[in-house]
Amino acid sequence: MLQYDFMVNAFAATFIVAVVAGSIGYFMVLRGQTFAGHAMSHVGFAGATGAVLIGLSPLTGLTFFTLLAGLGIGLMGERAQSRDIAIGIVLSLSLGLGLLFLHFYTSFAGQATALLFGNVLGVARDTLWIMLVMGALALVILAVIARPLTFASLQPELAEAKGISPKILGTIFMMLVALAVAESVQVVGVLLVFSLMVAPPATAMLLARRISTGIALAVLFALAQAWIGLVLAYYTNWPTTFWITLLGAVAYLAANGVVHLTQNMR
């Protein structure tokens, strides 16, 4: 299995994505923003088509547009209810813009749409370096804002009283999510990024009460999910994404079962 370069690259790429998605995803789930993560992985489409239209590289457009959407969602609403509305509006507007750009781009748009369907088995060595740099950058920013972000996520009123603005912090966090999503989507695909951002942190949250343990578990679960999924895909020849999403669901259900059992035993 490891005699193939594409498998080695796949293990390395999913390692980077799992660490970034697991830790950022933990805060995303903690703050109840899974819908935002989902939206973020789709708004890149408009950016990619728009960039192709004006002759830029689709990747530039994808990154720029996703960051812009993160900024928009962050600024539009902090409370859960208004936040979902903000996300819905940003998501539908950007998909609409994508359609408009495709309307004006009257030739085959393969290069724009191809970006949204990344493939774990098709990661090149030089792409890995870009991913590593972007992933490290995202983790450093997260490490800096982690403490105030936790505070603002759990006790927003108290945080505000202490001079931390939940809105500014939330916006920075949303842009961080955007950065992580934009860099991973073109490598491993929309579905895989989203699946690694939600299921492992949710599972970790069921099993660990402390935030630091939770983050560590989330990263561990994401990594296990991705790597075992790759091994299963190698030996069954079924799609990698299927195995990874299945493992995520199974782990979450199993953790739920464990929690129920231990509660009943008490």
């Binding site: 594409f6 309307h103 009257t106 748009a109 393969g110 296990a224 091994v231 895909a233 020849n237």
Partner: protein
Amino acid sequence: MYLIVVSALTALSLFIAPSNTKAADLITVVAAENFYGEVAETIGGPEVTVTSILSNPNQNPHLFEADVATAQAVSKADVAVYNGADYDPWMLKLLKASPRAGRTEISAAKLTGHKPGDNPHLWYDPKTIPAIAKALADEFAKRDPANAALYRQRLASFEASLAPLTDMIAQLKAAYAGIPVTATEPVFGYMASALGLDMRNYRFQVAIMNNTEPSAADVAAFEDDLRDRKVKVLFYNSQVTDDTTTRLLNLAKQSGVPVVGVTETEPANLDYLAWMVSQLEALKAALGAPAK
């Protein structure tokens, strides 16, 4: 964690023996699409082994996701043939993910001077398949000089075998050049220009191909063409039909515009020549007696 994975891998590899027992002396070819793979089989004969990736005519080539077996085939290949022009971007990714010294990549788009953004259905251009055949014959001859004469001979007989298609194109062109036609998707586009047909509503076709909405004006122009019988034939992609194209098909039937179904990928029971000739036969039947 690392230990767990490594031991799991070792355990698994004990049960499943590595399957890289390929015959060393054969040239291995991987073709992204089966119509190119078929050419490689014809030119290479028993001296090469060919794996075609897109070979099921029912899967949508635009939504293809590569599996492990595909990535393996690509990583082991000596020669890789693909369409290019962003029709099969997954192939480029797989090639970059598995670098292999001395592998030759043959792109139909590069051979025929097409770039991303162009109509990607290059195999409908009568010049493409002969260009691929020649590039493959040259490549095989270079890798296996002992059999060079054999490859050249197969190339010559393959080129000769395409004569019925070339003749038919010339015949149809003489009879129908300049006739206005239209299509729901640009699949048949290059063949239509080879026949000298006047292909209308290109913007509409691109919109359908890109899975976006055709504009109201484009739809209106298309419907007028059919209703007023300004076009003599409507081509449609019989593999991709939705509400918009079904409505246009019905409209064509009501106004008596003949309809010709074409397929994007090669049907399972036909080879390239038979596939193209059968579609041209259908076109000829639909157009009827030449207007001139």
